[in-house]
Symmetry: D2
Subunit: 182 residues, 4 copies
């Protein structure tokens, strides 16, 4: 997100997303916070839980200043690691951070298994694991024709795969006492 | 496992376990394989999936030589990582390795969330995530009175916690079409 | 560096520094590049050599657009790692990246052993190693009275230590055919 | 090293080497220690400094039991890491561990830049850096005709390269007040 474009984006979007490479771009966090809009804060791919929560504070402070509830979603999207199991996969989905974050913060924690695994055949498994681990949400990348996707064709799911994944997810969510709004 | 003690252990045990620090102790793997007994091969905490499968080959070769089915259980027990989220936790449970291993091998894959997280409050979450991710089994450390445990008191679960965890696990297992034999 | 403050900083400074947390703040890189000033680009602490060189391209493009020589200094300042050897040290100085970068780019490569090690007793060792590894420069944090330093007292060197370190560095530099301008 | 072969090896060798994959093979360490011979203990590639020193204790105890001086050489040979800078390089040489180990132990610390980098063009740089960092020794892999080496052709140095490397090393060693016995 370009800091100068927050205004125009905020006019049209329902939520602002801070990408992994900008998690510690503090002036951007402050400006995004000042809009009062809900913010999804992706975890920096080399950052610790402490780094992440400290970054969230920049947004939380502005929400507090506006006298409103803190509207921040923490999103785990994969971290750099020694071993990612495929040459084309650069990240490892860290699900241990889900209970660890929930131990320290009231903010909801979600995951992004599509970008984390970067390999569609693993997405369903990591999506169901996220829900079972206690994640409060998920984002999934879907494309009508994945092999033709201009960006990230290896990880995006087709409509048919998405339907199957959602069916499975509803069952796991129910098993852990959660419901899906989607 | 001391290589000289395999005989006496094999007389009394139903399965042999190779610990994380011995995953690449190849003479031990060969001797353990020669017993023909089922073997649980824990992943070395700095080792890749390829390292792990190559180690399993030492056992598989001996089972093949005996003309029997390969009886090897792969067990993910946490890997070294940049960030483990608590000062007392040295490892991160790698659940991405579950679908990755299943893509490459017919051997069953299980996890050990107790030793991986080394923090009891996270074990249930990682146990349910393991089952949802597609793991074929689990090991859990349980103690009648965890604060008095001589070893690893931070991670072991009480009988009451175990009962609650098993109840939750049966629900998640059913949601992903698995049943629990325990 | 706040993107809006580049102008005022550029009026007074000889070089602009992009910190580790902003290595992938692309609008900032572009604006910094447009000043035409020399830029020290610190490596993001979770970033690969490829990530680093791709970030440098944002600055290089602007220097090319200005029709001037590319004035970019790459600075290795420690990366996240499994083991950093002290509880207060969060990073590991990656000296392997020095020859690796020099294999791929004509840009000079320097190191920052003070921030990387975060422990003064190790700084001299890593400083001499950097020069011997072929680094083209160094930055060191020095304070008249380290225990009283408002920021980072564990890693900054005293004037006496600095003098000793410079003496040692001149000897190592001479041994590898380099000279020190400082 | 196969534990049953220690006797025959000890008859013919001047020093015993424990490889990275056996650093935590404790029965092997004990048996090797009982010979009273000098031991080079390579660091396990996922192991911490504490893991390494704890492993050395198994050997040290046996040397103490024999009433002799502890003859143990610690050898850093590269660790698993997020980024190793070449697809064929699996490890990163950790030079920060040199001063860190010397802060905690009287045992000499050496490095193995050939196996760590696994890329001959980087070996000289990491070899000189090791000496400048304060390492007490080095091992280098040399082959009369590297492209024809049956094992590890990417990392071994030719006789001509070795001669050039030794010349450079003598200069750096002298600059840091060390001499080379080789």
């Amino acid at each position: 997100m370009h800091i100068e474009k927050i205004g125009i984006v905020a006019e049209h979007a329902d939520m602002l997303q801070i990408g992994t490479r900008n998690m510690q771009n503090y002036p951007l966090l402050t400006e995004v916070g000042k809009t009062g809009m809900p913010v999804m804060l992706k975890r920096g791919y080399g950052c610790s839980l402490r780094d992440w929560l400290m970054a969230a504070e920049y947004i939380a402070l502005e929400h507090d200043n506006l006298g409103q509830e803190q509207k921040i979603l923490l999103c785990e999207r994969g971290v750099v690691s020694n071993h990612t199991h495929r040459a084309t996969s650069r990240f490892l989905l860290d699900l241990q951070v889900v209970p660890a974050a929930q131990e320290l913060t009231h903010l909801p924690v979600m995951t992004d298994p599509s970008h984390a695994t970067f390999w569609q055949p693993w997405v369903k498994s990591m999506m169901l694991a996220s829900i079972a681990a206690g994640a409060d949400g998920l984002m999934l990348e879907v494309h009508p024709n994945p092999p033709e996707a201009a960006v990230d064709p290896l990880q995006c799911s087709s409509f048919e795969q998405f339907e199957d994944m959602m069916t499975a997810m509803r069952l796991v969510a129910a098993a852990v006492g959660r419901t899906i709004d989607a």
